[in-house]
């Protein structure tokens, strides 16, 4: 009994065995269960008829069990050590002072078994994968938290957004594309497991709705609109479920973020491991003086379709007040240099070309394929609207773009596509600053900046079109001469 206890002590929660089975495992087990019901639980007949499938499932299970048995971990005083990979050949040691984010999630499958999935990430590795992922028991999680966090003290500040703000956040950050991708993946997976009925039923419904609306609109327009609406709604629902009961707590040295309705999420981020704060706004959010705050710390927001949110959506004044209590370590500084207003064309020329190019492309297409007039007209309107919106956003961006560096902090304000960013970062966390110049910028003595910040990804912040002399002097004086 003691030996058995010892065996389980250093290993992951046994639920992980299911995780180690192949993805096609469910494709085998469902028909097998169906067949057992079909033979009215006559085990002998069932075994005779389905022995090969049962054998395959047995092998898959044995393989999963072997993988689980070889993965062990130890939570030590100053580090966590794990043997992972096939046959536990990969030994991973992560000192607690290098951990950037500990994420704990508990999905619907894990909850009845009191199991948790733990993601431990550092600034090394890639931005696509997590350094260490383990399925743990509750007592191990508490053990890990007590070591990796500062001594447990009372929370200094707790921020809970209003439900209305969460709705607005989900509304604004729902992406049609990601919704369509999730929904399609769901449809494909579901049709693989339970047959093609669900897929056929969906397309039948879609076509019946399309028929209903086609009295006034062309069929393909209705179908496209329905797919877009369904995708967006799906993404909205995913966002709302993911961020429900969102809470941010600041204790001694950590930011603790909890959220989730079906899958409960808990993230613990040491404040000194936060690389930067990104205050994001769209043009409409700017007009309504609201914004969303996201933080960049390796490991947080890494999951698929996860947003590294700190404050979902609220007014600028509330953000200012909340940030001073949540993360006073990172401060906002005023903008020092801005692009010249006479260089407005450098901002608006690409969207102007886009605005002119779309109708021109449609006209050319129509000339070659005169029977497709209706499609080209529809596509022209659909693509022209975002192009015009981009032109408006880029025109506004000339008034918001700028860089400020003082007191060891940097403020990088720029516009990327439709989004306005205000990145607040400690200058010590800027790993590389680049100045680049296109031939057009060379002709007008302009330069652009690219800032790389600490983290796993080589993502850079591009702030464009400053006068060359002013920009270069600023970089030398404010960035290079400080250390």
């Amino acid at each position: 009994m003691l030996a058995l206890k010892q065996f389980f002590h250093k290993r992951q929660h046994p639920i992980k065995i299911l995780g180690y089975t192949t993805k096609s495992f469910w494709l085998l087990i469902i028909p097998l269960a169906r067949s057992l019901v079909a033979v009215k639980f006559d085990i002998a007949t069932w075994l005779r008829g389905w022995w090969l499938d049962i054998l395959v499932i047995g092998i898959i299970f044995l393989f999963a069990f072997t993988r689980w048995a070889f993965v062990t971990y130890q939570i030590r005083d100053d580090e966590i050590v794990a043997n992972t990979g096939f046959f536990g050949m990969l030994r991973v040691t992560i000192p607690y002072n290098k951990i950037c984010c500990v994420s704990v999630t508990q999905g619907a499958l894990y909850r009845p078994f009191k199991a948790y999935k733990v993601y431990i990430d550092t600034n090394s590795g890639t931005d696509k994968s997590t350094d260490l992922v383990l399925a743990m028991k509750k007592k191990d999680i508490e053990h890990l938290k007590s070591f990796s966090a500062s001594p447990q003290t009372k929370p200094k500040f707790i921020y809970t957004p209003r439900k209305r703000n969460l709705l607005i956040f989900s509304l604004l950050f729902s992406s049609t594309l990601s919704g369509v991708i999730i929904f399609t993946t769901f449809l494909v997976q579901a049709s693989r497991i339970v047959g093609r009925e669900i897929e056929q039923r969906f397309f039948y419904k879609l076509s019946s709705y399309a028929k209903y609306f086609t009295l006034r609109l062309p069929k393909y327009v209705v179908a496209l609109a329905l797919i877009i609406i369904a995708g967006w709604l799906f993404s909205f629902c995913v966002n709302i479920v993911r961020h429900w009961s969102f809470t941010v707590t600041r204790n001694q040295n950590n930011i603790i973020i909890t959220s989730g309705f079906i899958t409960k999420r808990f993230h613990q981020i040491p404040v000194d491991k936060i690389n930067y704060i990104d205050i994001q706004q769209s043009l409409l959010m700017k007009l309504f003086k609201i914004c969303s705050v996201q933080i960049h710390a390796s490991g947080y927001g890494k999951g698929s379709r996860e947003i590294a949110v700190l404050i979902p959506v609220t007014t600028l004044s509330v953000v200012k007040r909340t940030m001073s209590l949540l993360i006073p370590e990172i401060q906002s500084v005023p903008i020092d240099i801005r692009p010249l207003k006479r260089n407005v064309m450098r901002y608006i020329l690409p969207p102007i070309w886009l605005c002119l190019g779309i109708p021109a492309g449609c006209l050319v297409g129509n000339w070659f394929l005169p029977n497709w007039t209706e499609i080209f007209r529809f596509a022209g309107i659909i693509f022209e609207l975002p192009a015009i919106w981009l032109l408006i956003v880029k025109t506004a961006s000339i008034f918001t773009t700028g860089i400020g560096i003082s007191k060891g902090y940097a403020n990088l304000s720029y516009c990327s596509l439709y989004k306005f960013h205000m990145v607040l970062v400690k200058t010590e966390k800027i790993s590389k600053a680049s100045v680049y110049q296109t031939p057009f910028q060379y002709m007008r003595n302009n330069i652009s900046f690219k800032f790389n910040v600490h983290g796993e990804s080589k993502l850079s912040h591009k702030v464009k079109n400053f006068p060359q002399k002013v920009g270069e002097d600023f970089l030398k004086e404010k960035f290079m001469n400080t250390d």
Binding site: N123, N275, E428, I430, S431, K432, A433, S434, V435, Y436, Q437, T438, P439, Y442, N452, V453, H454, G455, E456, S457, K458, L459, S460, L475, K476, F479, M480, N481, D483
Partner: protein, 151 residues
Amino acid sequence: MIVIKSYKPHQNALNFLRICISIIALGLTVAIVIFLKSLPILMYTLVAIVCGVGFLLNFILLPIYFYKTSCTVGENYVSKKGGIIFTSKQYMKKSSVQYITVIKTPLSKFTAGNFLIIHALGGGIILYFLSDNDTEEIKNLMKKWTKEGEC
């Protein structure tokens, strides 16, 4: 900003690349002449393209690239300047340097096929075609910086 030393890609590398490009262009030309003898128009067109690209690389693009590229090591920073049409200057502070990777190709003593990658969290600088001595010098300096960072 105090400049300690500036480094440029070694001339041997330019010559080596020119020889390689010339050999490849010559090989392709011979192959085109042998295999496309029966299609003279296509043959002459392809020969002209291959020779044109070879000439462009050997006498215009590579010399400009080698002339414009330079690396400067300062008291507390390392910078790289380069680019032919789109120019760029990259600056990395001493405190950001995490580690370096040195890639030495065979016969690098004669071909200057030495590459040095300076890694930082979230970014890096790659220095191409350095001479053996320059590679050693920068490597030692970077080692010193990373050791200072550890202290």
